[in-house]
């Protein structure tokens, strides 16, 4: 156990982390853990405490209580040594607008202690990898949003950090840039990097994360794989939209013996939990046809993380806490 401690111990390990701003408890004692070479997604709405958690883990903020270790180093006790082992890319692409792409990366490289020539070599590699070579001598303010974000991520990777923190890496990006960035993150993880990413996008967590911690109001309210979280709200179901809501009683009795659970109705919408996906739509359609019920639409739906979030928190993921406070 002690011989290969760095191999077996988690890359990120957080216990009972607390951080308050005045009377506001941004983190109310969270626990997180990520194994080396995996992606941990911290999922939650604005104001849930995601960014605060990242700031504590990247040594920018001292916690009030609890402990956090990253790459085997304590974020408070070993802050200076830890900084050489982490990369941070944020929501606001932190690049210098008045420096070119290459100047930005060379500056960061030299601040990591590389010599100028080594920093320049590394900058060239990263610009190539992030498809920025052609724009490397243009100032960053001429870059598109997606290019800036790639440059920001490249800056976080200059020192080949074993642990990478991405604070809402795709917020505000167009769909194409998002897909591009996702592919890049997957590549990094394939190379052994541990990634903690925060996101408000459920599909992002679903696609990238090995494990997901759902946080709300500074607390972890659920933790597990995407599938484990989805199982919490039940399996697949057939959703039937009726032409007339008045026919819902007839529809429910027609569909009732498809499943053990009673179908749920909501206006013209009927949900039936099913065991097997195959044949479920045909079966439901035949039953409704026989009963003479008019159908607008039938679909099989797997629960999404949206459903998970809604059932866990009682409010949808999109709801902004600031809006709630103001309301």
């Amino acid at each position: 156990m002690h011989v290969h401690e760095s191999d077996s111990s988690p890359a990120i390990s957080v216990t009972g982390l607390v951080k308050s701003y005045g009377s506001v408890r941004a983190l109310a004692g969270i626990d997180l853990e990520a194994a080396p070479g995996t992606v941990l997604a911290v999922l939650g709405p604005n104001g849930a405490g995601k960014t605060t958690a990242v700031r504590v883990l990247t040594t920018l903020l001292r916690p009030d209580a609890g402990s956090a270790r990253v790459a085997g180093l304590d974020v408070v006790e070993n802050a200076a040594r830890l900084r050489a082992k982490i990369g941070l890319a944020g929501q606001y692409a932190a690049v210098d607008d008045n420096l070119t792409g290459v100047e930005n990366l060379v500056m960061v490289g030299r601040l990591y202690g590389l010599r100028r020539s080594a920093a320049r070599r590394r900058a060239g590699e990263l610009l190539e990898r992030f498809d920025l070579s052609e724009s490397s001598d243009r100032v960053a303010k001429s870059y598109s949003g997606g290019m800036r974000r790639r440059l920001d991520l490249a800056a976080a990777l200059v020192a080949r950090p074993p642990v990478l923190f991405l604070d809402e890496p795709t917020t505000g990006l167009d769909p194409r840039s998002r897909l591009h960035l996702w592919a890049t993150i997957e590549g990094l993880v394939a190379d052994g990097t541990t990634v903690l990413l925060t996101t408000q996008y459920l599909d992002e967590a679903d696609r990238l994360a090995h494990r997901i911690a759902v946080i709300d109001r500074g607390e972890v309210i659920a933790e597990g794989t995407a599938d484990e979280l989805k199982d919490r709200v039940g399996g697949e179901r057939v959703e039937v939209t009726l032409t007339h809501p008045a026919a819902s009683h007839a529809a429910v009795s027609a569909l009732a013996d498809m499943t053990d659970e009673p179908p749920q109705t909501e206006g013209e919408l009927i949900r039936v939990a099913v065991q097997a996906r195959s044949g479920a739509i045909m079966d439901a359609a035949r039953r409704l046809d026989r009963a003479g019920v008019g159908v607008e639409d039938i679909a099989v739906r797997r629960p999404t993380l949206d459903d998970v979030f809604l059932s866990l928190t009682g409010h949808a993921a999109e709801i902004d806490d600031e809006v709630e406070v103001a309301a």
């Binding site: 606001y92 960061v108 601040l111 990591y112």
Partner: protein
């Protein structure tokens, strides 16, 4: 701590490389000071009595240089405020760099831009009739004193830049604080021409000490204690404001 010098140089280089790409700032070191010199000499000059000096331009040049150099640190305040709003300070703090290097890189870069300002203003002054009554050593000593004075004020501006929420606020607060400090001094008019009360303030103002020290170096006016007192003032300002700014940097940036 061994990283302080190399990291500071990297940061200073960054601040200087980006400067010509923000032309509005560059205008502040070049065209604007020339405009002020011309306005003061030709608009106010005729109305201001400066007994003991050949000409108002002789009296003015050391004063307006000191005023300009005091404001040289504005770039530091604006730059730090901008770096904070853009998240660059977070990036720097997440890197294994010496803590003071982000600020020292700013104040060191200011020394370079201040040198540029001094050259521009001295050339302008010489063209419109300013004349040294001093040897090359005294001239250089005066330039050195100005640079030290500018460095001290850069640390004050660093503290201002870190204490505000936006570059606009840095601009407003910096101007409101520093403008009166430079004006209630012997920079533009003889202190004796001010009302009682203000005279004492102006006489105690380190800007006056520096300006009078500069006049004695460049024009041969009686020095008194002004030269060595100027140096003491600058050292004290750095000794007070540099640690304050660094402490503020550790805390403020950790919002």
């Amino acid at each position: 701590m061994t990283r302080l010098v190399p990291d500071t140089l990297v940061m200073a280089e960054r601040n200087l490389v980006r400067l010509p790409r923000a032309p509005d700032l560059l205008l502040g070191f070049t065209v604007q000071p020339i405009m002020f010199v011309l306005l003061f000499v030709y608009v106010f000059g005729g109305a201001i009595e400066t007994p003991g000096y050949d000409d108002y331009v002789d009296f003015l040049i050391p004063g307006i240089l000191a005023q300009n150099i005091a404001f040289g640190g504005f770039v530091t305040a604006l730059g730090l405020a901008e770096d904070m709003t853009k998240g660059l300070i977070d990036r720097f703090r997440s890197l294994p760099t010496a803590r003071a290097s982000v600020l020292a890189g700013r104040t060191v870069a200011d020394v370079v831009t201040n040198t540029l300002s001094i050259v521009v203003l001295l050339v302008t002054g010489l063209i419109i009739g300013f004349g040294f009554d001093a040897g090359p050593l005294e001239v250089l000593a005066g330039v050195g004193l100005l640079l030290l004075f500018g460095f001290a004020f850069s640390w004050i501006f660093a503290l201002i830049g870190l204490s505000v929420s936006s570059p606009e606020a840095a601009n407003g607060i910096g101007f409101t604080l520093i403008f009166p400090i430079t004006f209630i001094s012997s920079a533009f008019v003889p202190v004796e021409s001010m009302p009682a009360g203000l005279q004492e303030v102006a006489a105690a103002n380190p800007v006056s000490t520096v300006v009078d020290g500069l006049r004695s170096l460049w024009l041969g006016t009686p020095a008194g204690d002004d030269i060595w007192l100027s140096v003491v003032w600058c050292v004290v300002l750095v000794a007070v404001f540099a640690p304050l700014a660094v402490a503020k940097y550790r805390k403020t940036a950790a919002r």
